[in-house]
């Protein structure tokens, strides 16, 4: 049974990702019902589409997980870091895979948080300048920031 601190943190991680929350649509909710055509549209040429935002969010969940657990560098399923170019051509299979990647990276991170001893929240992981609680607060904000963007991009491109 996770400690109270970890349970509260997990609740915030869940609200930002896939549990009903106060702050509006969460990240997973923002892509629910979105098809490959919608996900591939760009609000302006050169701007990110929803597919790219989804893979970017997946990457940072992976990066935080790696920081927390000391996982091997380069173990993200896609080559590169931060932003990944996704095509403009609607591709339902690729889009499904991208959303599945986001779910997988989220679950991987969430599972790591669930087994974290509360005392480790104040520890600074190797290679990091801030403690684990700070890193996790950052990823919650990151999910919400991009959830808001995706909601707007859907309107702008519809």
């Amino acid at each position: 049974m996770p400690s109270t601190e970890i349970r509260l943190l997990l609740a915030q991680i869940d609200w930002a990702y896939d549990r009903q929350s106060w702050h509006g649509t969460n990240l997973r909710g923002s892509v629910r019902g979105v098809n490959a055509t919608q996900a591939s549209r760009r609000p302006r040429p050169g701007r990110h589409n929803i597919r790219e935002l989804v893979v970017h969010a997946a990457y940072w969940k992976y990066a935080v997980w790696r920081r927390m657990t000391g996982g091997a560098r380069g173990s993200f399923p896609l080559k590169g870091s931060n932003w990944f170019a996704c095509g403009d051509e609607p591709d339902e299979r690729a889009w499904r895979d991208e959303v599945a990647l986001l779910d997988r990276m989220h679950e991987q991170l969430r599972s790591a948080v669930a087994v974290l001893p509360a005392k480790d929240l104040s520890k600074t992981p190797k290679g990091s300048k801030v403690n684990t609680l700070t890193i996790l607060s950052g990823i919650i904000a990151h999910d919400l920031y991009h959830a808001g963007q995706i909601q707007l991009i859907k309107r702008l491109t519809s």
Binding site: W15, G24, P43, R47, G138, L144, Y145, L156
Partner: protein
């Protein structure tokens, strides 16, 4: 959640607000108010919504549950980013003063209130403060996208990690 952690979150929240407003200040009045189809239509309306939310929560903490925003907080009253910044800075002072007075022990206290639709709610102070910050993150993403759509220069990174890095440097 400790008082130090809540205070740091608020520091981040207002730091990100300032970065966002710096970017918004470069927009013309027409760009600021242009209907972009967002949930709060324009850059101005979204920013004013965030101001209104802080006022509403602060009112609830003081025992009043508003059913509507104040007339002077309606978006039409704001014609430029500077006027939004002025109001938001007033709210910041009120929120910070309240949290300071609340203290560490007060953060876990719960209060009863009614939402704008009149439905009852009960929350702990730390949850409401956390919500305030998370809610703003959601809308900052939208404002950044709108600024880009309008051809403006988006704000410098508003990631939490950028805040900590900058704080470390100064």
């Amino acid at each position: 959640m400790t008082l130090a952690e809540v205070t740091t979150l608020l520091d981040y929240h207002y730091w990100a607000r300032d970065r966002l407003l710096d970017a918004v200040e470069t927009l013309t009045p027409e760009q600021l108010t242009r209907d972009m189809g967002s949930s709060f239509r324009s850059v101005r309306d979204t920013l004013v919504h965030l101001c209104q939310v802080e006022w509403i929560w602060h009112a609830r903490w003081n025992g009043t549950s508003p059913a509507a925003p104040l007339q002077e907080h309606l978006p039409e009253r704001f014609t430029d980013a500077a006027s939004i910044r002025r109001l938001w800075s007033e709210h910041e002072r009120a929120v910070r003063a309240f949290v300071e007075k609340l203290g560490e022990a007060g953060l876990s206290r719960t209060i009863d209130y009614r939402n704008m639709a009149g439905q009852p709610g009960r929350s702990a102070y730390w949850q409401m403060l956390q919500h305030l910050v998370n809610h703003a993150s959601y809308h900052r993403g939208q404002v950044t996208t709108m600024v880009r759509q309008l051809g403006g220069t988006p704000a410098k990174s508003m990631d939490l990690i950028a805040f900590y890095r900058e704080r470390e440097r100064t």
